[in-house]
Amino acid sequence: MPPIFNEPFLAALLTGAIISALPLILAGLGEQMSERAGVMNIGLEGMMMAGALAGFAATLAGLGVWGGMLAGGLVGAAVSVIMVLFCVRQGMNQIIVGIAITLGATGVTSLMHNAWYSRTYPRLDAAEKIALPGLSQIPVLGPGLFTHHPATWAGLFVALVFAFVYRQTFLGLNLASAGEKPDALDAAGIDVTRTRSVAVMVAGAMAGLGGAYMAVIGSGIFVPHMTGGAGYIAIVLAMLARDRPLWVVGGALLFGFCLSATTALQVGGIEVPTDFIQMLPFLAVMAVLVLFGRNARLPRALGQPYHRGQR
C-alpha cells in the first residue's frame, strides 16, 4: 500500500469534501424551505444545472466569481418561476412539473454547452482562496478545512440565517403553516400562494447558487450532466433533516466526504472498488430511512395544491 495518508493527501481529501458538500448544503437548504412550505421540488437537479451554466458563463464573461454566483442564483430562481406558475398558482402535479424541469434544463444546458463551448472547452481560473487566520494553521486538518473561497463561508452562514428564520420569525412560522395546514394560514389572513411562491423561488435561487458553486468554484469547467444526482441527494437531505437547517449541513458534509474519498482514493492509487465507495452515501440514506424512518415525518400538506375554499 502506498504511503498516501500523509498531510497533503488529507488536506486534498478535506478540501474536496467541503467543495462537494457546499452545493448540497445550498440546494438542500433551499429544498428544505420549499418542502416546509408544502411544495416538493423534484426539479432541483434541473435548477442546479441551469445555475451551473449561468454561473460559468457569467464568470467566463468577466463578471468574476461573485458575479457568477449571482447569475447562478438569479437563473435558478427564474427557472423556479415555472414551478410557481404551474404548481403553486394552478395546482398542477408537482412531481410531473419537477421531472419536466429537470429533463428540460439538463437538455437545454447540454445543447448550449454543445453550441458554445464544445470546440474550445474553456476553463476558468481557479477561484482565489482565503486561509482563515489561525484556524488554517491547525496541523493536518487546518489547510484542508479552512482554506476556501469566501463564498464557502457565506454558504455556511446561510444555514444559520435559515435556522434563525425558522425559529424566531413570523416568516418561519408562516412557511411551516403553509406546509402543515394551509387553510389555517389563510384564515389568519396570510396569503398561502405568496408564502409558497417565496419558498419555491428561494429554493430555486439556492439550487442555482449550488450549481454555480460547482462550476465556478468547485471545478472551473462546465460539462453536461455535471450535477450528477446532487439535486436528488439534496432532496433526501432536506427530507431527513426536516426543520433543522444545521442537520442539512451535517448530512451534506458527510456526503461530501464520501464523494471526495472516492476521488482521493482513485488519485492515491488504492485498489478499492470505487463503486462501493460511491454507493456508501446512498446506502447510508437507506439505513437512516430504515432506522429512523418513522421520524422522517413530512409536512402534512406536502405535495398538495392549495385552493381556497376547498377542503
Partner: protein, 358 residues
C-alpha cells in the same frame, strides 16, 4: 380512455359529446407545441429544426434499418411502461424503476449463459427471465416495505435504490461475475444462437411480442380485473380503500413488487434478446424516459405503445443526428421536458373548458 384522463388533476370526466374530441386534442396539442418549442431552442442555438426533424424521421422511421432498430429499442421501454402503469394507476410512484431494470439485467446476465449451457434455450431463456423478474421484485421490496409499514415516501427511497443499483451492479460484475476471457468488465456472453429468435429476415427478435403482450396485460389487469380495481381504489382514495376493508399495506407491497418484477423482466428480456451480456458501465437510464411517456399516454397501455414507438423513432434518429448534424442526443430530454409541461398545461386547460360547459 376517459376514465383514466383525470388522474393528474383529479377533475371529473368529460361530458359524452366531447368524449373523443377533447382527449384527442388534449393529447395532440401538447405534442405539437413541444415540437415547436424544442424546435425554437434548436433555432436559437443555430441549428435548422426542419432539417433536424426530417433527418430524425428519415433515420428512425423511413429507412428499413432504422425502423428495425426503432422496434428493437422499444422492447425494454414497453415493459417498463407496463411496470409504471401498474404503479401509477395505484397512486404509487415507483421511481426506483431504473434500479429494478439494472438488477434484472444483471441477474439474467449472470444466469442466462450458464442456463443456456445446461438446457435448451426454450427452457433456459424463460428461467433467466424469471430470475430477472424475481431480482427486480426483491429490489423493489425495501421501498415497498418502508412505504407500507412506516409510510415513507417511495419516491426518495426508490431513487436511492436506483443509485445503489448502478454502483452495485458495476461492482458485482467487476468482482464476481466478470468474464475472465474479456478485457472489459462484463458478464459471460450469451451465444447469439441461444438468444431470443429473430423474425425471419430481420434484426427484430421476438422480445417485441413479449413486450407488447406485457403492456397489454398490465393494462388489462388494471382496468378489467378485480385485483386491478383494488389497486386503483388504493390510488384514488387510500382512506376509502381502508374503509372498504382492503389491506392497504398488503396492496402497497403487491403493487410495488409487481411493478418491480416487470422492471426486472424488462432488463432480462433486453439481455436475452439483444445485449447478450451486461457491461459494468451499463446504465441506460430508461426510467426517466418512460415516466413522461406513461403520463402522456394517461396510463393507457395502448397509448403507451404509440408514444414509446414515437419516442424510439426519436431516439434512434437523434443518435445518428448527433454525429451527422452535431446536435447532442440530449435534445430528446428537451423535447420530453417540454412535452410534460405542455401536457400539464393542456390538462389544466381541459379542466377549465369542462368547468365552463357545466
Amino acid at each position: 380512455m376517459t376514465e383514466s384522463t383525470e388522474f393528474i388533476t383529479g377533475a371529473t370526466p368529460a361530458a359524452p359529446r366531447f368524449g373523443f374530441l377533447l382527449p384527442l386534442g388534449l393529447a395532440l396539442l401538447p405534442v405539437m407545441a413541444a415540437l415547436v418549442a424544442a424546435g425554437l431552442v434548436l433555432l436559437v442555438l443555430g441549428s435548422d429544426p426542419i432539417e433536424y426533424y426530417s433527418y430524425v424521421v428519415q433515420r428512425g422511421l423511413l429507412r428499413w434499418r432504422g425502423l428495425q432498430a426503432t422496434v428493437v429499442n422499444m422492447v425494454p421501454l414497453l415493459i417498463l411502461g407496463g411496470a409504471l402503469i401498474v404503479s401509477f394507476r395505484s397512486g404509487l410512484w415507483n421511481l426506483g424503476i431504473d434500479g429494478q431494470y439494472l438488477l434484472g439485467t444483471l441477474t439474467a446476465g449472470a444466469t442466462a449463459p450458464l442456463l443456456a449451457g445446461a438446457f435448451p434455450s426454450i427452457v433456459a431463456l424463460p428461467l433467466a427471465m424469471l430470475a430477472g423478474a424475481v431480482a427486480g421484485a426483491l429490489w423493489a421490496l425495501p421501498p415497498a416495505l418502508l412505504r407500507a409499514r412506516a409510510g415513507i415516501n417511495e419516491v426518495i427511497s426508490g431513487l436511492m435504490m436506483s443509485l445503489i443499483a448502478a454502483s452495485l451492479t458495476a461492482a458485482a460484475i467487476k468482482l464476481w461475475l466478470k468474464d475472465p476471457a474479456s478485457l472489459e468488465p462484463q458478464t459471460l456472453t450469451l451465444p447469439v444462437e441461444d438468444r431470443l429468435p429473430l423474425l425471419a429476415g430481420t434484426d427484430i427478435n421476438i422480445g417485441i411480442f413479449i413486450a407488447l403482450g406485457l403492456v397489454i396485460a398490465a393494462h388489462t389487469l388494471m382496468m378489467r380485473s378485480a385485483t386491478g380495481l383494488r389497486f386503483r381504489i388504493l390510488g384514488l382514495n387510500p382512506a376509502a380503500a381502508t374503509h372498504a376493508g382492503l389491506g392497504v399495506p398488503k396492496l402497497t407491497l403487491s403493487v410495488l413488487c409487481l411493478s418491480g418484477a416487470l422492471g426486472g423482466l424488462a432488463g432480462a428480456v433486453e439481455l436475452t434478446g439483444v445485449l447478450g451480456k451486461m457491461q459494468a458501465s451499463w446504465h441506460p437510464g430508461y426510467g426517466f424516459a418512460v415516466v413522461p411517456l406513461v403520463f402522456l399516454a394517461r396510463m393507457n397501455g395502448w397509448a403507451v405503445i404509440v408514444f414509446v414507438f414515437a419516442f424510439s423513432v426519436l431516439q434512434i434518429g437523434s443518435a445518428s443526428a448527433a454525429t451527422r448534424l452535431g446536435v447532442p442526443q440530449d435534445f430528446t430530454l428537451v423535447l420530453v421536458g417540454f412535452l410534460l409541461l405542455f401536457l400539464a398545461l393542456s390538462e389544466y386547460a381541459g379542466e377549465r373548458l369542462r368547468a365552463k360547459k357545466v
